[in-house]
């Protein structure tokens, strides 16, 4: 099944090369209000067997990024970029001229070296559900109500494996057993509405893992569940990931989930990656002002607050993002360069794996980061809230 990937695998021949390497991904949508630049130059990578947490607020492009990789956006178009103008301008004119397509993605999504953005429809269908699987936010609506869960699992098996339907059924039961559904051999013939939310998400996980994919994309898999169930589902995912050796991209807006499960983190803001680093480094020494805001707004059990601390302002419209750094309208550190230029992600001098897209000089970032950590520690000690503005006047 991986034969097509082998030819182009030489570029990252060593085993530690990334499983998924996304480079300068852009996805634009045509809407009645104009062209939405939902993903605008996103790069990140996922190592085999590891977990990348993608965090950011609603509408920052987390889900669209992942949907783009598998061409699951509505009516996705294809185009080749040339050097005549910027990629963004070429994509906008493509969408304006096209009657058939409502979305367009450019860039590269290298999965084992193979660019999925250039893959044929047939090849994509083979990748989906067998090499890369997805689970979604709302388990209540993600399963088809008129087919039994067994039929839906069996469909996933038969789509990718050459087995009889009897064998597929056995695999389905086995899969349900593995995700902890009691009496699986009987529940396999039940319909989705006969399962609770948590159980349905288990079914979704079973369906995603049934063909042993190399990569599992989980789009806020615990958001719609209550807290106890969330913990169970996260635990289950972690356990299955270790058993299957699956790499996971965990999309979430919950930093707690990230701390729990991720090896690496990408913080997204307004269609771009603000900061990417190993998880310990992000929590220990966050370098982007937006990340500081996120961490400062985390509710803590030890701290009593009237209101949660928040980042001032609203996330920008992706129809018309602000010029320069997209965080500049909300950033108290912004200076004139931030208003003119779009920062690219650059590695920190102390850790080449820790990237952030911010023009502040590193000394200031490290200093401010330490101040934030101190403020948070103080807050925990005293039970007082972190002041929303951690910067001295």
């Amino acid at each position: 099944m991986t034969s097509t990937a082998e030819a182009s695998v030489e570029t990252n021949a060593d085993d530690e090369g990334p499983l998924l390497d996304v480079r300068d991904l852009r996805t634009y949508f045509k809407t009645d209000d104009g062209i939405v630049k939902a993903v605008d130059g996103v790069s990140f990578s996922v190592k085999p067997g590891e977990t990348l947490g993608v965090v950011g607020e609603s509408g920052c492009g987390k889900s669209v990024t992942m949907m783009s990789i598998l061409s699951l956006n509505p009516k996705p178009g294809r185009m080749r970029l040339d050097d005549r103008s910027t990629p963004g301008a070429q994509m906008q004119s493509f969408l304006r001229e096209s009657k058939k397509y409502t979305s367009i993605s450019t860039g590269q999504a290298l999965f084992r070296g193979e660019d999925l953005l250039q893959a044929s429809k047939r090849r994509l269908r083979k990748v989906r559900g067998s090499e890369i699987s997805m689970i979604f936010q709302d388990p209540m609506t993600s399963l088809n109500p008129v087919h039994t869960v067994g039929d839906q699992l069996i469909e996933a098996v038969l789509m990718h494996r050459d087995v009889t339907s009897r064998e597929a059924r056995e695999l389905a039961i086995e899969g349900l057993n593995e995700v902890g559904i009691p009496r699986a051999e009987r529940r396999v013939d039940d319909y989705p509405h006969q399962f609770s939310g948590g159980m349905r998400q288990r079914v979704m996980i079973a369906m995603a893992l049934i063909n042993d994919p190399a990569l599992l994309i989980a789009d806020e898999p615990t958001t719609a569940l209550d807290v106890t169930t969330q913990a169970q589902i996260l635990g289950l995912m972690k356990q299955l990931q270790e058993e299957h050796g699956t790499a996971v991209v965990m999309i979430t807006h919950d930093l707690g989930v990230i701390a729990e499960i991720a090896d690496d983190v990408a913080v997204m803001y307004a269609a771009r990656v603000a900061e990417q680093s190993p998880v310990y480094s992000l929590f220990e020494r966050p370098l982007h002002p937006y990340t500081w805001g996120l961490l400062g707004s985390l509710p803590r059990l030890e701290v009593e607050l009237e209101r949660l601390t928040q980042i001032a302002g609203q996330p920008p419209s992706l129809l018309n993002p602000p010029s320069g750094c997209r965080f500049n309208p909300r950033c108290s550190y912004a200076f004139d360069r931030c208003l003119r230029e779009l920062p690219e992600a650059t590695p920190a001098s102390f850790d080449p794996e820790h990237l952030d897209a911010c023009f502040l000089d590193e000394a200031t970032k490290v200093e401010e980061s330490a101040r934030l950590a101190a403020a948070l520690a103080l807050a925990e000690e005293t039970g007082m809230s972190v002041p929303p503005e951690t910067r001295s006047p």
């Binding site: 598998l70 699951l72 009657k99 269908r125 083979k126 990748v127 989906r128 559900g129 067998s130 699987s133 997805m134 979604f136 709302d138 609506t141 993600s142 399963l143 088809n144 109500p145 008129v146 087919h147 039994t148 469909e155 996933a156 789509m159 990718h160 319909y191 509405h193 979704m204 369906m207 995603a208």
Partner: protein
């Protein structure tokens, strides 16, 4: 399930009583005397009184209604027509097959038109096909049935001579003296009525199916199916259509039930001896028993089809359980 059917049947009885009672009351509110009409033009006042007594019209309304129910329950009889003294049961038995043929054939035709149009235009919104289809829908919904019928009659029947203009042929045993009969003649004569009858519904259904399919295409489980690598064709057939067409089944059952009460316009234009024409004539003749007969039949048709739809729905939608 059994309990459910019993309860539904009891409710049907209540509904039935309500509908027939209302017909009676409305009928007697009309400022006209059926006895005078039945007695004929040259009848004297005494004649009218005699006829009135014969027909039972001199009794109070509730007594007449009681008698109607008594005859219906004990003799299974709907009485005799005021106008020509024929048995209403017989008249209904003659007229019902005509209407059933018109409605069922029409329903098949409108689904044959609406399904492909609705599905294809949902899959390609804003395409040429979609825009064309939506113009058809707009015309089909706005154009009066009578106008469509007359146009078809004029062009297809008269100008081009492709089909008969009007009239009805019995399928199985044509009565003596009738010039035509048998399945082919029946079919041939029904083509225009079917088309006339189907256009409005085809338009309504095409629009409904299009909306349902478009809604369903946006469902999360459709995305799930695509994400697991199901080919688009199978996504549509297995995951989209199955869900999108569920509500259409309900609508179809209800609409057929309602139409069985008589497709009055279509029957009138093409001179079909169906229930609609029977109802129309009985209103003009102030012929209460016949009118009541048509209403009884229509009510039963609606009640039975509703029940069938509900039971069928429990089979095709696993979320529904009849309790």
């Amino acid at each position: 399930m059994f309990q459910y059917l019993v309860r539904r049947t009891l409710w049907a009885g209540v509904l039935f009583l309500g509908v027939t009672l209302i017909t009676y009351v409305l009928f007697f509110l009309l400022p006209a005397d059926p006895a005078r009409l039945a007695a004929g033009k040259s009848a004297t006042a005494e004649d009218v009184a005699r006829v009135s007594h014969q027909l039972g019209l001199d009794r109070p309304v509730y007594e007449q209604y009681g008698l109607f129910l008594k005859h219906l329950v004990i003799d299974q009889s709907l009485g005799r027509s005021y106008a020509n003294r024929r048995s209403v049961n017989e008249m209904i038995t003659e007229a019902a097959p005509v209407t059933i043929g018109l409605v069922v054939g029409g329903a098949i035709l409108w689904m044959l038109i609406a399904l492909p149009i609705g599905i294809l235009s949902a899959l390609r919104p804003r395409s040429l096909l979609d825009r064309g289809a939506m113009i058809f829908v707009l015309v089909g919904i706005s154009a009066p049935v009578v106008w469509i019928g007359l146009l078809l009659q004029y062009f297809v029947g008269y100008k081009w001579g492709l089909t008969p203009n009007a009239g009805y042929c019995d399928v199985i045993n044509p009565p003596e003296g009738q010039t035509c009969g048998g399945p082919w003649d029946w079919f041939y004569h029904m083509i225009l009525p079917w088309m006339t009858f189907a256009i409005l519904f085809a338009a309504i259904y095409a629009r409904m199916i299009r909306a349902n399919v478009m809604d369903t295409l946006g469902e999360d489980y459709v995305r799930t199916a695509r994400a697991k690598g199901v080919p688009e064709r199978q996504v549509i057939s297995r995951h989209v259509l199955r869900n999108a067409l569920l509500p259409v089944v309900t609508m179809l059952g209800l609409d057929i039930g309602i139409a069985l009460g008589g497709a009055i316009f279509t029957e009138a234009i093409f001179n079909l001896p169906g229930l609609g024409r029977l109802a129309l004539n009985s209103v003009l003749n102030l012929d209460l028993p016949t009118l009541q007969g048509v209403i009884v039949f229509a009510t039963l048709a609606i009640i039975v089809l509703n029940l069938i739809v509900d039971v069928l729905y429990a089979y095709i939608d696993p979320r529904i359980r009849l309790t």
